[in-house]
Symmetry: C3
Subunit: 650 residues, 3 copies
């Protein structure tokens, strides 16, 4: 199904009815509203104006649309900030208070902000919880975008001290856990604890990891409390949240999504490609400029689905040029439809476009909509018409479990930021590389959290699991399938210390090696590993390991072991170039009996139930790897450029 | 005529008389003094010491020199700052107060600073307004250099609120004009208005444009008040100001110059080239290192002349290495003379050198003068001697109107900074590119403000006029000549919103198109346009247009219109490489009956009355495009390297 | 002799005895302790816990080890900061207070900090001054690392005013000396003086130089007072300090070392190479990645020895990967031994490894030790065993005076930062280049301070001596040997003004030239000089000189003099490429009768008494330039890769 984001408060009320009629006529089912409307809902402290919103909902509902209602907490109004300036967050890098004038000018640690956010959420939920036109709820909007998970405010400082007390109980335990004796950093009480900001040189990794966990917990608590309010007032309605790319939240995303019915994602392929590939050469970038990278949407669709294990929404889908990347091209013709189909292939239930009509004012006036500011059709309109027609003709089966699980671990990401050790070390790039390998091999992937049940997966890939819990280690040990563990896994204890007996610490039962040393090399000065007759670059992270009883599968240029195996479990002691990963994972898949479909270039495939989707990001036609006699529901065996084919095996 | 900048307070009084004698002997007419002398004029609060300055003026005047007197407001003394610390400006990027210790440590919004600046200006004007040796006045010094137009002080905050009230009358009008509903940014009163600094993410473009206008207005008001004081006390004397490069003031330069008799410019070709071309390759830069770029002086000479439409001064002319660029080479032999002649070719009345004698101390001790600190002749001395002799032999006619007008629009520049949309978008680079085209075609140019009368120009070039006023649109419509309008013109209303009916809004009567979409591409990944059989790169800004009844002259690679024409008016919907501009402007000139003189390499020509100047920045001789029988007043038909020829048509 | 850094407070007391036994068994003589132990020595204000430290010292001493005791002032505990927050330093760039959480969170200008630092130093010195196991003392730890010499705190502001009063006596003298009239920067009293931070644009060079001197003086005073306390309580014990690389202290290093018995250096070749060569290409960097640059250790060994003129220590020697560079590779096999031998070749008395056992927690848990956290041997262990065996077999003679002196001048370095004039100007790079020339010629070097006695040196090299004192000029004039003076020498007076009569000011008696002008060129756009038939690049600094009665040895591309000679003294008026320096210095050595040994690639030689060491950083064997019949004490005539040979001339 399809949807759209709409802002009745941005347009003359006289336009609403015609807008609603056109939405329905376009085949849209859902319309999301009101996530930035606080100043219109409560224009003065305690004085609510509901009438306009009542009428907007009714107008939309009567046109046959289902409303997705939001809590407006992403944009508290000026009067609230003036009443309670302590709501404003503080930039941890500069110590400067981040002011009013845009959005997300709030501090998750602030008790006042928490109270006010829940107050407005309660008011909205009370008003519309049982409104017949409201089908479900979105909490807030893009939590933590613009780097707002972390604040260094006095409220955050106080909250962190309390959190530390709750975590460690007595200060001696904290000092011991963090190794505070190291530079006489010992505290005599929890009231002495500093935030790890603004020190002369780097603070302790344990200190910073605690700070990241605390900051994440504050967001999770905020979100959980808001969901509880909605559920209390909106019986029978689902609740979701529209995530920014998960790596950018600064939060434990699985915890953040824990109480949701399903997760949603805001999908902007071109903006994301422009920023993520900013250092790429023109030769690398030009083919992707108007399409995005063929794996960058899938990796987040799959992560979004993985947050709850249920079909997800794309709450905001880019419909044309955006305004916020370094450069903002038009999508290639057909891409708006193709990105949408790609979402459905990866298990989407709904794709909703951002936004109905381009705003003629304010920050996003250069951001395309389905309509131009003058109400004429923008470029994406006919693609949405086509998409609706196609969707109506195909019965999408429920998504099925993938053969491959990848463990995604926010704490490994944070560790890589806290203790990078080499400038080339980047957990998200590692995760993306591992995902890319699976996609080039035509493998479907489920992303799972550390500690998830791994039963039923033929293969489990662990790009890094640096601080494994007891549970996560046990789940890995209990995995049915072949396991590939990447470097730095088991590198640390919970408090970011080197495990007794050295790494991989808690993972040693799976992998009886010892990590003796680590080196990181300049990206342009790599060493190599040899696997069989092939040689591959290895440089950004290299562990010297004692292989114990493991079988050695690959070796460094000096002959030391670099890839080892113990039973079902493989360990890769170094970061390597993609070709090495491709070879290792392909060999594992063969052993595991998982069929691979090596794909070149810009074609990707994804299965949903008994359907297979072939998505062609390229400018040239591509041959679909469909079996003999496949029944094509969309497209043909030759997948047109920026097009897709869908088939059912014969 | 020639002049020099002199600091009697820097030297023993015993030296003054000999200095004056040597200035006169060198052929200098004017001597500018006292712009940094506040601490010597008023060493303690309210206690003035005039005697030394009286004697200095008298010494200079008796030697036959005409004194240019200044208000010393660029450098208020420490005691003033200690008395009134609220005078200090606040950096909008960091929120840090910018302190005492150099210059321009003042806030144009501060009522205390305004009062004190006018107090000292009045004192100086009273003392010397009718002094017989004082020929004219310079206000302040290089207003707004070091990014001082904008301050985020409490005074600026208060002033901005007042200014908004004056501009919008009631707060609902402001909210509507700025689109503040967008992210619940609505204000309930003018007292709630924030400065657009320090917010979590970008603030509204309307908010930032208002802030830029406010900041500019404060500088203009300051300047106008100071000029009025001088005029009140100095009857019959002219008043000027020495501008930094106009793009760097952050101010509406035409408004800033409105009350002046003429404008002056401080010309530092090598420092400017080093900074502006910092990213150029060695091959590109080496030929310009000791000369500057052949268009970078002319574009500012022409803009300076355009500020008042009257002959201008070079108040400070670089005489040797400076101290403030990234690298500071010596000028090639002959360049000090050549830059001076170039100024006269573009309509200068006076060229004045900075400075008489190199200071042996303080910030600029590595900045050359006409004399070294030990009073010996520095390198430029013989060039000034030669220049004086040559000037004495040639009677310079009055400058005449050029055939081509270029509209220069500070608000388009600000918009490009506020809403860049693509990292490659830069109004000043666009303006420079359009000017370069005219200069390579041998066309003389007048820069005019939006809204200026365009009668009599055979061609009007509009690189960008993003927020046209009613008057500016009407003037363009009334233009006699052919008009070329560049992309983004008419893109916005006064309050930075998309016009009703889409761009080009107020310019639609001239150019009946609709701008449907805009994209910006990475500079290294351009698309193209085709005009006739030629293809040109197009990328940094590309508009999709509905051409209406226009003739299509050029098309994008996908066939969509990119260059169109409607009557006399051409519209270029995209930023293009120089060669495309050259072709378009050359064709227009042919149609307009304006003679072009295509010039290769480092030679440029400029007419003044019935004289033509050929200026050769190159290291090789160049052939002057002089007609048969031309009478050479200086040089010959072969223009020597780093030399010029002047001829009168036969 | 060998030593190690040990932290008994980091480990269970039960481990100490075995640790001590193993240290002794490895052949270590010294063990440094307690420099970060304040929070364990004084866990609460005024409450000391000595017992654990008493026992640690006794355990080590009884195992036959000599203890190096430290003052723990690099890491004051949290309670001290909470009691006296004014101790914290203020970042001069941002104005932000630099907080607790790492180390060196102290302000040398703070009277409270000075009092507290001396109080704890007194307590420790009283307790252990006469302890029989304590052989000597280290003051503090790595003074001024993390850019802590300079603070912009209120205490620093007050101290600077007092210091200015002491230096200049009356304010008029200061105004005159600094040239404060220039931009009305004159002060009426010392109480008006600002710190040169946060101004609108650059402050006066004199102001900044005074600020650098003041900041340096505060560190020197702190250090001198601490040494005096130790000496008062520790009769007969030596006192040293472990320097970071001297260029990074921001202090007059000779003054800082003045009261020490000898200086020590902390030697981290790989971290240093990674940072210093960050902009090198992969081809340049890869051969050095696991060895460091062959001159980067020697230049600091020689400077460390030069601080006191006595054999020095390496107090901390890198034993494996570190944690703090951008990338942290493992040393090539053999390098830990080789770096240690190189230190002995350059006059080390002791090399001590950092650290005994890798810490499993806190900031440096990724920094290797001699043992891993699990007490097993890390990679360097067998190299230290070998080193101990070799040292035991060779009787090292006392270091002897070198034939070549290089004057190292911190004020020239500061001037280059304060008034860079060209972005390519960098005193430390110049110093490194001149040192590199001597090393490629096989010349041993002593670094001496300006004003040192130069008697007995065959050659004196002066890369830059920008602000020579009367004494320094006199010493140069009295030098026995040939002198080579580099550009910018004599450029300024004490107060950073151009000398009367122009540069080289006080050096004119040695070198009767006048510096008429200076230019700086972009590094990629150099000019050239010709010496004989050879041409060399010249660009980063180029002086136009009047050669007076000097002989001209080299000329710029335009024929102007660039290298001149007057008696024994040569003057190089420009910065040049290495090949030019090599040629000039080689010719001087020939004239001076100093034997050169031109060395290619990665081999270096160093003499110590009658022994010659050939150190091969390269991956290929190299031929030792040993005379016929040399007696090899270690290695052979063919020096193995990453190995050395030592011989005694026959």
């Amino acid at each position: 199904m399809l949807g759209v984001c709409y802002y009745p408060e941005h347009w003359p009320e006289a336009w609403w009815e015609e807008d609603a009629r056109r939405m329905a006529a376009l085949g849209l089912t859902y319309v999301r509203i009101a996530e930035f409307a606080w100043s219109r809902i409560e224009p003065d402290p305690g004085r609510f104006e509901w009438d306009w919103l009542d009428r907007a909902i009714e107008t939309l509902g009567k046109a046959g649309l289902k409303v997705v209602m939001c809590t407006p907490t992403a944009t508290p109004p000026k009067w609230l900030i003036d009443l309670y300036p302590e709501i404003l967050p503080v930039d941890p890098e500069t110590g400067r208070t981040r002011g009013f004038g845009s959005r997300r000018h709030t501090d998750f640690s602030s008790p006042v902000w928490h109270r006010e956010a829940m107050r407005i959420s309660t008011a909205v939920a009370e008003r519309y919880g049982e409104n017949p036109y409201v089908a479900g709820w979105q909490t807030d909007n893009e939590l933590c975008c613009h780097d707002t998970a972390i604040s260094a405010s006095p409220a955050a400082h106080a909250g962190f001290r309390t959190w530390c007390r709750e975590q460690y109980g007595d200060i001696a335990a904290l000092n011991a856990a963090w190794g505070n004796v190291f530079w006489s950093m010992e505290y005599r009480s929890f009231d002495e604890i500093e935030m790890p900001v603004g020190a002369v040189t780097e603070t302790s990794p344990a200190h910073r990891m605690a700070w990241r966990r605390y900051s994440s917990d504050m967001v999770v608590r905020f979100h959980a409390d808001m969901i509880a309010i909605i559920r209390a007032h909106a019986p029978g309605r689902w609740v979701t949240h529209n995530f920014i790319p998960m790596p950018e939240t600064g939060v434990d995303n699985h915890a953040l999504a824990a109480d949701l019915d399903f997760a949603a994602y805001d999908n902007y392929p071109l903006g994301r490609a422009d920023l993520a590939l900013a250092k790429s050469t023109a030769d690398e970038f030009a083919p992707l400029m108007r399409t995005g990278h063929p794996d960058f949407q899938g990796i987040l669709f799959d992560q979004t689905r993985g947050l709850t294990g249920r079909p997800f929404w794309v709450m905001e889908q880019q419909p044309g040029p955006v305004n916020w990347a370094n450069h903002n091209p038009r999508p290639a013709p057909g891409m708006v439809r193709l990105w949408s189909w790609e979402a459905f292939a990866h298990g989407a239930a709904v794709v909703s476009f951002f936004r109905w009509r381009q705003a003629p004012y304010a920050q996003e006036q250069m951001h395309a909509g389905l309509l131009r500011p003058d109400c004429t059709h923008a470029e994406a309109w006919p693609e949405v018409e086509q998409l609706h027609a196609e969707l109506s003709a195909i019965d999408l089966p429920a998504p099925t479990k993938a053969p491959v699980a990848i463990i995604v671990d926010h704490e490994s990401d944070w560790l890589g930021q806290i203790e990078q050790q080499g400038r080339g070390y980047n957990y998200q790039k590692i995760l993306t590389a591992w995902y890319g390998t699976t996609r080039r091999l035509g493998l479907d992937v489920d992303f799972v959290a550390p500690g998830a049940d791994l039963a039923g997966y033929a293969m489990v890939l662990v790009p890094a699991l640096a601080l494994p819990t007891v549970e996560a280690a046990a789940r890995l040990q209990a995995a049915d399938g072949l396991v590939l563990i990447g470097p730095r896994s088991g590198a640390k204890t919970h408090d970011v210390t080197i495990p007794e007996g050295l790494a991989p610490g808690r993972l040693r039962p799976l992998m009886p090696i010892r990590v003796l040393a680590v080196e990181t090399l300049r990206p342009d000065c790599p060493g190599s590993i040899a696997i069989g007759n092939a040689s591959y670059a290895s440089g950004l992270w290299r562990e010297t390991i004692e292989p114990g009883e493991c079988t050695v599968l690959g070796r460094y240029e000096d002959g030391a072991p670099a890839v080892v195996r113990h039973g079902k479990v493989h360990y890769l002691a170094t970061l390597v170039e993609d070709a090495a990963l491709d070879a290792i994972v392909a060999a594992m898949a063969t052993e595991a009996g998982v069929e691979t479909t090596p794909l070149n270039g810009m074609l990707r495939i994804r299965r949903r139930g008994n359907l297979t989707f072939a998505i062609n990001y390229g400018a040239e036609p591509a041959e679909a790897p469909a079996p003999e006699g496949a029944e094509f529901l969309l497209g043909t065996r030759t997948v047109a450029p920026r097009d897709l084919s869908i088939w059912r095996a014969a």
